[in-house]
């Protein structure tokens, strides 16, 4: 079980990652909203953030640029939420190291 401090440190690290993903989404897709307004678990496509398949391709490139992690365009489940993108980055960064 986590110690109190270790648990919060782990949570802070995760928050930093999801915040960075939200900033990338807003910047790369030129969205006029505060990144913090995006929640970790809302859908990225459709009625969530309202993004479409063209936006997805832009995000694939952005994620690779920023994190060095490749998302293939047949794996759209990664874009289920900001949290899913974060999970994918974490697991693929670990796998590469």
């Amino acid at each position: 079980m986590n110690t109190y401090e270790a648990g919060f440190a782990q949570a802070a690290e995760r928050m930093a990652l999801t915040s960075k993903i939200k900033e990338i989404i807003v910047q790369r897709l030129d969205m006029d909203i505060d990144p913090a307004f995006i929640t970790d678990d809302q859908p990225i496509f459709g009625r969530g953030l309202g993004l479409d398949s063209i936006d997805a391709l832009e995000l694939l490139v952005a994620i690779e640029d920023e994190f060095g992690v490749t998302i293939f365009d047949d794996n759209m489940a990664v874009f289920g939420s900001v949290n899913k993108v974060a999970d994918y980055i974490v697991s693929n960064t670990k796998a590469a190291s």
Binding site: N2, D41, Q42, A77, S81, N83, K84
Partner: protein, 381 residues
């Protein structure tokens, strides 16, 4: 929840369709409206939703048609979503807030040519109706469609095949969050593409007298897909709520049950730049508060009993509480939502739930969608 009997049927407010179906299921009281909780058991019905087609009695959901010269301005003043540019035959989901910024309901809004239809949850139907009446101006008319119409839903990875039997055009031409007014057996109906579970989802609104025959017609449909015999099974609210939680689809009875918009993490039902609606100022104050909590999904593999309200701890320090808990047949685990202090309200960490007996249960916070709907890998042909 109780097994349906004459007592329940007499006490609860129900459509004729629900009264007929209640003989075969267990009813739940949703603020005075009878809703079928289960027919053959939630797990059986859940599998229909995730693998076949689940047929859902939505007749308890409130349907209010708003018309008159000021109908767009009136409805817009009550919604957190911007509907000014909502196209005709399109639908959007929005929050309806009171003046204190508290969630009255999460509603679906349908833009017709000369009116807007508002669909409420069953539990908040009367509350929304009263709110609309209270705020109504002279240039607005409100018609309670439940007096003459019944809504039925169906969802599942093959629901589009069933939908194709209703519409006289290619089903793939109906985009998500769109609807059309068509005829079914020479009666005008509304056919909607919109769902709750992440699977292909549709709703139809039919005249009352057509409801039972339409239900029966939909239920009797079946088709072979390779080795799979696609079936349509009636599905109650319990199975629907499990499938909704699995894709983090908010539910008015959970997210709207005393939580703020921020706590419920439903800001995505708020248009960022919209300022003119009831509850806007209170909502801004909520969002600016420090020291907050919000909902995060978690799983628990341990069989020890947890309950809604149980404390959630991080290394012996209370950091929140459980607000929803179901068993996910796909995950084969308990799946829930916990209201956690912001500092630890993230996916991917380990916490403890403390049950009534004081026993500790390991919780893992997880990322939505917790289950990938089968429909995401099935294309309409």
């Amino acid at each position: 929840m109780m097994k349906s009997g004459d007592h329940m049927i007499n006490v609860l407010n129900m459509s004729e369709l629900t009264k007929s179906l209640a003989e075969h299921g267990a009813l739940r009281d949703e603020s005075g409206y009878g809703v079928i909780a289960t027919f053959q058991g939630a797990e059986h019905e859940y599998h229909a939703l995730r693998n076949h087609v689940g047929l859902i009695d939505l007749s308890a959901s409130g349907l209010y048609l708003i018309s008159g010269e000021d109908f767009v301005e009136f409805v817009s003043s009550l919604l957190t979503k911007d509907i000014e540019f909502l196209d005709i035959e399109k639908t959007v989901t929005s929050l309806m807030l009171d003046e204190d910024g508290q969630i009255i309901d999460m509603v679906s809004v349908y833009r017709l040519e000369q009116a807007i239809l508002i669909e409420t949850s069953a539990a908040r139907r009367d509350k929304v109706g009263a709110w609309l009446a209270e705020r109504k101006s002279d240039g607005v008319e409100i018609e309670h469609w439940n007096a003459s119409r019944t809504m039925i839903g169906f969802e599942g990875p093959y629901a589009w095949k069933l939908a194709q039997t209703i519409v006289p055009f290619d089903i793939s031409s109906v985009p998500y969050q769109a609807f059309v007014e068509i005829e079914l057996e020479n009666e005008p109906i509304v056919f909607i593409r919109s769902g709750f579970t992440g699977e292909y989802g549709y709703k139809i609104i039919v005249p009352h007298h057509q409801a039972m025959s339409t239900w029966t017609q939909l239920k009797e449909w079946g088709e072979e897909e390779g080795e799979l015999e696609i079936k349509v099974e009636p599905v109650g609210l319990e199975a629907l709520e499990i499938a909704m939680l699995e894709v983090r689809q908010p539910c008015a009875q959970v997210e709207g049950n005393g939580l703020t918009v921020y706590e419920a993490a439903v800001q995505w039902f708020v248009s960022y730049h919209k300022e003119e609606y009831v509850g806007y100022n209170a909502l801004q104050q909520q969002l600016q508060q420090e020291s907050k909590q919000h909902l995060v999904g978690f799983t628990a593999a341990n069989a020890l009993s947890l309950q809604i309200g149980n404390a959630v701890m991080l290394s012996s320090n209370k950091v929140g509480r459980i607000v929803q808990l179901v068993y996910s047949p796909t995950l084969e685990k308990k799946l829930g939502l916990a209201l956690l202090d912001d500092a630890c309200a993230v996916s991917g960490i380990e916490l403890e739930g403390i049950n009534e007996a004081g026993e500790s249960v390991v919780l893992h916070t997880v990322s939505s969608p917790y289950v990938l709907p089968k429909s995401w890998s099935i294309k309409m042909i």
